[in-house]
């Protein structure tokens, strides 16, 4: 059985809750008092992840950290359709990895801005917001051209991949960091498509799709 070391307001933890919900994977939640308790820096947690970061999973003794790494593992192991992480398609796998790494960039900017505004993290807020806008501009353009060639998702595949899951949460939560999305229409349409994936689930701060 999978145990997810989880904090409700974390978008990185939500990536995993979201994929597990879509794939119908059962799991247990081990709450981590990330804020205000800073339990991710406690002795017991650092044994699990010396980086002192959530999320972490434990799947029958296999301990994994990093949301993107865990998405790969879960999709490779538990997705019978093989579409979320298509193991036989090297070009697509390369693209997926590229966007997983892009998602970490969204964490470093949009998520950082949200931590600053909501949980008082001391960091350069202007740099965080500017960095997020730069990434959102790139993503918006990529999705806009995709719509011109009938590509609904971040990668060129007929259905969504873990790249979509990895990029979604901190895009969706960006307003909490003072990063509006009105100038990214293709991103807004893509968010709406993600919300309509079967098995989609919400977190605090993310609302379900409106009526079609």
């Amino acid at each position: 059985m999978i145990t997810l070391y989880d904090y409700e307001l974390s978008g990185n933890c939500y990536k995993l809750r979201l994929l597990m919900s879509i794939l119908g994977i059962e799991y247990k939640t081990a709450p981590v008092d990330f804020y205000p308790g800073r339990e991710h820096k406690s002795e017991w947690f650092l044994k699990l992840n010396p980086l002192g970061q959530i999320p972490v999973i434990d799947d029958d003794g296999l301990v994994l950290r990093d949301a993107q790494a865990i998405l790969i593992y879960l999709a490779a192991k538990y997705d019978p359709s093989g579409t979320w992480y298509p193991r036989g398609n090297p070009a697509l796998l390369g693209k997926i990895s590229q966007w997983l790494s892009f998602a970490d960039g969204i964490t470093a900017t949009a998520s950082a801005a949200r931590l600053h505004d909501g949980l008082f993290y001391a960091l350069d807020i202007d740099a965080a917001r500017a960095g997020a806008h730069r990434l959102f501009r790139i993503l918006d353009e990529h999705l806009w051209f995709g719509e011109r060639e009938d590509r609904d998702w971040i990668c060129s595949a007929p259905s969504p991949t873990i790249a979509d899951i990895a990029c979604f949460p901190y895009v969706m939560l960006s307003e909490e960091g003072g990063i509006p999305r009105q100038d990214y229409p293709a991103i807004r349409r893509w968010c709406d498509r993600v919300k309509r994936i079967k098995g989609f689930t919400v977190m605090s701060g993310v609302f379900p799709a409106g009526p079609a």
Partner: protein, 300 residues
Amino acid sequence: MTETGCKDPVILNLWHPIAAVAETAPGRVADTVLLEERLGFAIDDAGNAAVWRSRPGLATGDRVEPLEVRDTLPAKLAYGYLWTSLGSPEEIFPIPEFAEPDRRRLNAATIGVNVSAPRAIENFLDMGHFPYVHTDILGAEPHTEVKEYDVEISIERDEILATRCRFFQPMASTTSSGGADVDYIYRVPHPYCSVLYKSSPVDEKRLDVIAVFLQPIDQEHIHAHMMLCVLDEENEDKVIKRFQQTIFGQDKPILENQFPKRLPLDPRAETPIRADKSAIAYRRWLSQKGVTYGVIPALG
């Protein structure tokens, strides 16, 4: 035109929360903002506290003896928080249940929100949003109707009291075992603080107490301190905190999207659906007190 701080004497003379004691490193300088003023503060292990207008020589993180700091502002520890004032405060409002020994007393979190304090209080008072915003926790369709309840402005206690509130909740607290009709009482004993009482799933004769104490940073930004004082012998602190943070995290985007950010006090300013009975009483009470900070005062 630039903002030049708070000039509202009603607000200046109140106690305001500035930090959770549990989250303050003892004997160290910390800093915050209240009503656009930078403040320094410190609490020692014995519970002595000092608050002062930020000044060079007392830098964040420095060791300090609160009792030795001169030229300080009023300071008081109450309900798990440090309170201060930029004016001459009277007694702080009472929460007698806080002293009951079998309760769990926790700071669920302090969260920064881009909204005025009065807007956040008004949202806290509104049961109508439960099924839509806190779906399957504090409400669920089709149980969407806010049933008739009573509101009074208590002259003698100078607070708003809403009683006989009742709502169907799928999961009212960490101790719930399923959906139930839950009784609520709301108090607004301070323009920026509200205390709610709701049926305890573990003791039908007693009520859980949940309060929001809002620290006004400026007219459109707050730090929301969430206090829990509940009956729960089963769950770890972090589970109880998580429940409350989940709910607050759902409110946050709703609060931050309110327009205008300041609360309009003119009775004709907004549709009656948004301004239901307790909201109308709250707005009237703020008007009567002459509060101008964080609101759009009524003309005339």
